[in-house]
Symmetry: C2
């Protein structure tokens, strides 16, 4: 019999970590629900034709076939989703007549990628996405709302030291025109901006010179100075000698969004970063990434933006503009486990353990457990035949704070023995008084 070796790239949690993760998920869901977002769940499996519509890295997609079958067994070839955006696009296109717009949805679910596993790269991991999809129109106020959901969500899980770097595609495109770049060069130029952090300053500069004349280079340098809080950076951008209409539209949209971010009371978390591009083709308005101030090495923990062509591969009857973002919940969870002490010490067990002092009275202990459960207390019953000393050891091993028991005589008198192992205090009380006691911190 071979020993069980963990399956590389498919991590799983032990119970206390699982409880921490479930709590994290639940907290995020509550935030999303409070903004009117709807929970959505799509099957893990999609048609390959759907999955390939986005032009994803094909070789990373897991396809399905039945065991020992050479060919796919159905009319449609099937694969596992590699993100939550493609399924969203397919869902919106498929159910467009049954949905009401703007459609706000969240989905916290695993995705699968056939990558070579390495540190921080998994073959199954969670994504946490929210999107607002409009029908034909979607006002820019929704962009501010999405950013506000992100700030609220991160704070709700105890993350306070973070910065959202925001930019607008129209500012970038308008600047490209001002730098005298051909439209065919825009994509390559923005790709260069995106990789600025990954290459040396010298490499960056020499690659820039391929695109920019000396006068454009001077303008680019002034452009790059327009960083900082939204208010400051917008003033600097306005002062630039760039008059292209697309650039001016970008500034106007950011000004509008900036005013609303103040109303949402989240503008202090947001900086303008004019070099942020996030690729060219998909996003059409705001784009943003999020960094932890004390863990920048994690990279962006939440990214998103405004897009127009979500459903274009599936339907052209209507147009569905949207704004959305993805929180890297798997990566964030690893970080939180390392940094938040209360997450490290979560007990996966119940609130209290009932010890069986006299086996003849087992029905009484059971009745007490059932009563406490009806009072919304989680209690574990010790059901093996072991000595009281061994049961106590068990309670300590599981780090129970509260244990409950009683002798036949105490039970006859409708009293129970309750002990707080953390503070070494004990009580002899009626069952009605146990529930409130367990809720004391």
């Amino acid at each position: 019999m071979a020993a069980i070796t963990p399956l590389s790239g498919f991590p799983e949690l032990l119970p206390s970590q699982q409880k921490a993760f479930d709590g994290l998920k639940r907290t995020l869901e509550q935030v999303f629900l409070s903004f009117g977002y709807q929970g959505m769940e799509t099957p893990a499996v999609e048609k390959m034709s759907t999955l390939l519509s986005k032009g994803a890295a094909e070789q990373e997609i897991y396809t399905l076939r039945r065991y020992q079958e050479e060919q796919p067994h159905t009319e449609a070839e099937l694969g596992l989703r590699f993100d939550l955006t493609v399924p969203l696009a397919r869902y919106v296109a498929q159910h467009q007549n049954a949905l009401s717009f703007p459609f706000r949805r969240y989905q916290i679910a695993p995705v699968w990628r056939g990558e070579r596993p390495q540190k921080g790269r998994y073959r199954q991991f969670y994504q946490c996405d929210i999107d607002i999809i409009g029908e034909n129109t979607l006002s820019k106020a929704h962009d501010a709302e999405a950013l506000s959901v992100l700030v609220t969500a991160l704070k709700s899980i105890g993350i306070n030291d973070f910065q959202i770097c925001l930019n607008h595609k129209k500012i970038l495109i308008g600047a490209c025109y001002a730098f005298d770049l051909d439209e065919q060069q825009h994509a390559d130029f923005l790709r260069l901006l995106d990789k600025q952090q990954k290459i040396s300053a010298q490499d960056f500069k020499s690659q820039l010179q391929v695109f920019l004349t000396p006068s454009a280079m001077a303008l680019f340098e002034s452009f790059c100075q327009c960083q900082g809080t939204l208010d400051e950076a917008l003033l600097k951008l306005e002062a630039l000698p760039i008059t292209h209409a697309v650039f001016q539209e970008g500034i106007a949209e950011l000004q509008q969004i900036c005013a609303l971010l103040k109303a949402f009371n989240v503008s202090d978390k947001i900086l303008l970063q004019v070099s942020l591009a996030r690729g060219l083709s998909y996003y059409t308005g705001v784009v943003f990434e999020t960094f932890l101030i004390d863990a920048p090495h994690l990279g962006s923990i939440a990214s998103g933006g405004r897009y127009d062509g979500l459903t274009q591969h599936f339907t052209q009857r209507r147009h569905y503009p949207g704004v959305g973002l993805s929180i890297g919940i798997s990566r964030l969870f690893s970080y939180l486990l390392e940094t938040q002490d209360d997450l490290k010490h979560i007990s996966p067990y119940a609130q209290a353990l009932i010890l069986i002092q006299q086996i003849e009275a087992l029905p009484d202990y059971i009745a007490l457990a059932q009563y406490l459960r009806s009072q919304n207390c989680a209690v574990e019953l010790y059901l093996e035949s072991k000595s009281f000393a061994e049961q106590l050891k068990y309670a300590q091993k599981r780090c129970y704070r509260w244990i409950i028991s009683g002798t036949a005589q105490e039970i006859d008198q409708k009293k129970w023995f309750v002990k707080d192992l953390r503070h070494q205090t004990q009580y002899q009380i009626a069952q009605e008084d146990i529930g409130p006691l367990l809720k004391i911190q």
Copy 2:
């Protein structure tokens, strides 16, 4: 562009149904947690060697490979889980040194089977399992607890008219000896009992005669009379002229469990059914199935039993007896959607909609929304530029009960206009008073 056709066998829910399903799952989880069960989540993917260990229907397993790759790309061939029991066995064996026993876990998660889709048969569907696993020993009291969790769980989701049919493998095996069956015949005989409901009475009788002599047939008929409440049926079983030790053990164990079921206050839901076998090899003690009284055609909605050899394919260092059950949550959910009116009319939206009466005051409406969210109210902001009349139409289309708005003058006076569309009542109140109002039924 091809129209999107639903993927056969992979159902998905619209938002209001999804909210109902999420609520159902959450309610069940709360019950499991209240008994001290721990949430567990395993990857969707397991090694094929793990999946094949149970001797499952191999051709139903979906295997994975990367797109356009002929051969599996890793050392281990991978497949999607087809149930939650095999992953549990692998998890317990793999993490045996990190887990604390008895290990109570629940898992509510999808499984995948490459079946031909047909009504009520899906290729992806949810299973909801609970199990208690002991290390080397696990007292029979845990069997009673598992049944009690089942009763509590079903009641918690509004199912009250159901019956659990219970039997004990030792009673069946003991009876087989008393019917003079060879041990080699036991499995076939129990299989015949299991299919009794599926064949005609005449077929059943003629197949019985292959196994039973006339005198054994008479005993079998008396045996089959031992139905009814546990107390009644146990008295009848004791009165039978069967003295085989295994049979007597079965009766003694059931008597013990029966007494505890009364303590758990669930015995009124349980009937003894001596013909229930649930296969031979896996279960070793109690076995049970659950039927809805007004929908017996659904078949068993929750089944389980006591088993000994859970981890035998993965480890022989220790022995892990267990008792567990699986609730057919997908099937049950379809039934609840059809029968429970309140589930049919769940709104997937927030509690209240804030209408924008004067666009200049948008920051005030946003601040109100943020305030209400901080008070645990879920509110949607209407963020498109539409007339007030159109916003009202939108509120009605989404069946909002509560709408909130205000003119600039009202907002200046720190009053908001709140209307209950259901009862056609309206209020002019301060923001602090809105939250409590929304909670009124």
